[in-house]
């Protein structure tokens, strides 16, 4: 919904392209755009102001570069600065030398603590640990049961009792010790940062169990108040880091930047989907791209990795290298892409996709049609599309419920793709060189 910073800057900077000297007005306008982009991403105003100067230095340097795309240069400079602010290190859990390692989760109501507790426990379990969950949220109706259901789903025991939160937490940790569980994740009730009695209760839980890690759970949609909330929870708990939830939404998540800048605590984990496995370490570089609206190609790669059949992908890549990538391979890969979800979603994560394309409603039915067209070809046709003449084309069109023009359009696109591959140097080297030379010859003539 917000135009990306890159897009906006291209507009603002198009005027200065080719100028030998930048005016103060050029610089001011650029900085104003950067500032607004950060505010629209819900980066806290005070944080925007405090990093503005650093960003300005970086941006002015980039603007001065004789690049053809000063906008992208500036964006890159800002991007690098944001990464620097958020810190480059990925958070690592150091397990306590004497188990169990105790992890306490705290946060506002509805930030996703209980779900995050389940996901974190699964994360530990997958890392070969023996986690246990403690349900110390006795406030919200159904919270204990919710954690029990999650525990059952991931095969992790859940401790709870109907006493009071402090007692549940300390007895839970004791129980984990008795059972030889080596990581304990304690879920607590949501509370407002300004609710003093409940914050004091949080402090009491903290004192009773002396957790190794105290995570503040905040959701990616949070606005300007993220700073105040983080500050208050940090004052009470001395938080170790933040778990940022609901990152699978389309919020820019400026809070990640704000919290780090103000309380100096990094985002440790990110919750990125409805499924319990959708939980990962936090990557500052991706977050920087996201805050600036640059798409998220790395997440795309990860999603590709998790849903792609590696063998099929590798086969496709090999065929591409050999220069034998035919429609048969294309169909295989097409099915892979579709497994990653709706094309619009995949597209929205790719950077540099023009806005018209990104906003275009993509009809998955069109893609069904592509699949249908290729499926209606004989294996011979798929391997060698050149044999497709008028009559074959009509047959394929009838078979796939499309028109011969559609078949033709697809074949044309496929040929263009092959051409593109050669241009960017994929495929057997010799073939590329040969074609390149012949191309030059043709031009000479």
């Amino acid at each position: 919904m917000f135009e990306s910073l890159g897009g906006r800057l291209e507009g603002a900077l198009s005027r200065i392209r080719g100028k030998s000297r930048l005016t103060q007005a050029d610089v001011d306008e650029t900085l104003a755009e950067i500032r607004r982009a950060l505010l629209e991403a819900d980066v806290n105003l005070a944080v925007v102001d405090s990093i503005a100067e650093r960003v300005a230095v970086a941006a002015v340097g980039a603007m001065a570069s004789p690049s053809l795309t000063p906008g992208q240069q500036v964006v890159k400079a800002v991007h690098d600065e944001l990464i620097r602010v958020m810190g480059q290190e990925t958070f690592r859990i150091r397990y306590a030398p004497v188990p169990p390692t105790v992890v306490l989760l705290a946060g506002l109501q509805g930030s996703g603590k209980t779900t995050a507790a389940g996901k974190l426990a699964l994360h530990f379990k997958n890392a070969g640990r023996l986690p246990m969950l403690v349900a110390a949220d006795l406030q919200r109706p159904g919270a204990v049961l919710q954690l029990q259901v999650l525990g059952k789903q991931i095969g992790v025991p859940v401790f709870s009792e109907a006493t009071d939160p402090v007692q549940v937490a300390s007895r839970g940790v004791a129980e984990a010790r008795r059972l030889g569980r080596d990581v304990v994740v304690v879920d607590t009730a949501g509370r407002l940062a300004i609710d003093e009695p409940l914050m004091a209760e949080m402090g009491a839980i903290n004192a009773a169990i002396e957790p190794d890690y105290r995570f503040l759970v905040i959701d990616a949609m949070i606005g300007q108040d993220s700073v105040e909330i983080a500050r208050r929870f940090d004052a009470e708990l001395a938080i170790s880091g933040v778990i940022l939830t609901k990152l699978d939404g389309d919020a820019r998540g400026g809070a990640a930047l704000s919290v780090k800048e103000v309380v100096g605590k990094s985002i440790a984990f990110a919750s990125v989907g409805e499924k319990l496995e959708d939980f990962e370490p936090f990557y500052p570089d991706r977050m920087a791209s996201r805050i600036l609206g640059m798409g998220d190609v790395l997440s795309l790669i990860e999603r590709a990795e998790s849903s792609m059949d590696q063998d099929v992908a590798k086969r496709g890549a090999d065929r591409l290298k050999e220069g034998k990538f035919d429609l048969e391979d294309f169909l295989d890969q097409l099915r892979q892409v579709r497994r990653m979800g709706p094309l619009k979603g995949v597209l929205s994560m790719l950077p540099g996709v023009p806005k018209e394309l990104r906003n275009q409603e993509i009809d998955e039915g069109e893609i069904d049609r592509v699949e249908a067209i290729i499926s209606s070809m004989t294996p011979v046709e798929r391997r060698n599309p050149a044999v497709i003449d008028f009559s074959r084309r009509s047959r394929i069109a009838v078979g796939s419920g499309t028109s011969p023009t559609d078949v033709q359009a697809l074949l044309k696109k496929f040929r263009e793709m092959n051409k593109l591959m050669r241009q960017i140097g994929v495929g057997p080297k010799s073939a590329t060189r040969k074609r390149a030379t012949s191309g030059r010859k043709r031009r000479k003539r």
Binding site: E40, Q146, K246, D248, G249, R252, V337, F414, E416
Partner: protein, 360 residues
Amino acid sequence: MEYLVLALVLLVLLGFVTVRSRRGRVPAGSQPEALRGEGPAGEVGREAGSGEGAPVAAAVVEPTYAGSLSRSRGPFSQLFARIKGQGEVETVTRQVEETLILADVGPALAEAIAGDLRGSLAGGSLDAESVRSALAAELKGRFLDADRTLHLGDQKPGVVLFVGVNGTGKTTTIGKLAAHLAGEGTKVTVAAGDTFRAAATEQVSIWAEQAGVDLVSGQAGADPASVIFDAIDHAGAIGSDVVLCDTAGRLQNKGNLMEELRKIRRVAEKGAGSVSEVLLVIDATTGQNGLAQARAFGEAVAVTGVVLTKLDGSSKGGVALAIESTLGLPVKLVGLGEGLGALKPFDVEAFVDGLLGGMD
């Protein structure tokens, strides 16, 4: 290398899809929202005009707005404390703009409000009192002059659908509203339409029990639309006045889940004849994404009003103003705390006063 393959496949697909649409064949999927959504404004208008629908009388408003909103000294009271009567209009309006941004009004709207304020302050006095009242007038003027009553429908049972992203307080709001309506003598059925999240049904059933109202639930993982259809059916049989339908939280960019919500609305409409209200529940801590939420849910299920929850925290809920002024969706209810009685009708005056805080 593998990703290159992927990128190339995407390229062909995109090329193909766009070639087709450029030829003027509109892909079937490109226009459904616009056609499906009935204008929310129209719906409200019709209900209001019918006279038969039972608008919920204003709940007892205890002095909660100002109380809740000033529990933390807000940025505005800090600002007004700094304004000493001297200085330039430019400086003051810039400070106001920044403070509006801190209240999550959003940079664009804050700039517009500050611009208008500049006009109304020009030449006049610049003491804190004058700035405050000029700003209050400016803010109040930007809220809709809309019908904020809750319509329970002209036929029985009326259907109220609660939608929103995860964790905004849909279930809690239903619990509070059920208690309030039941207290007024309205016969309420609650439909436990969140069949996705673990223990959501139990959560809503505890609320229903506390409120002393009827509940219809399904199995975990059941089709939410069918649970809601059954609830409407059941409510009709036992003579309930209204069905409050819970739905699972969903992020607005999840196409399949939004599609599920459209289906829920269609099915509810089929069951009851019409859906009286579709309330979007938004958390007051939400930043600019609140606009995206309102836009997406509005398009998908023709939202008729907003419930702004957790307004008792330190967040000011400024995004509600952005939603009203840019999307024309009225805020109807606000959540001010955890108690059963902490759900109030939205009141512009009280909201603005709470936002700007007292003068100290």
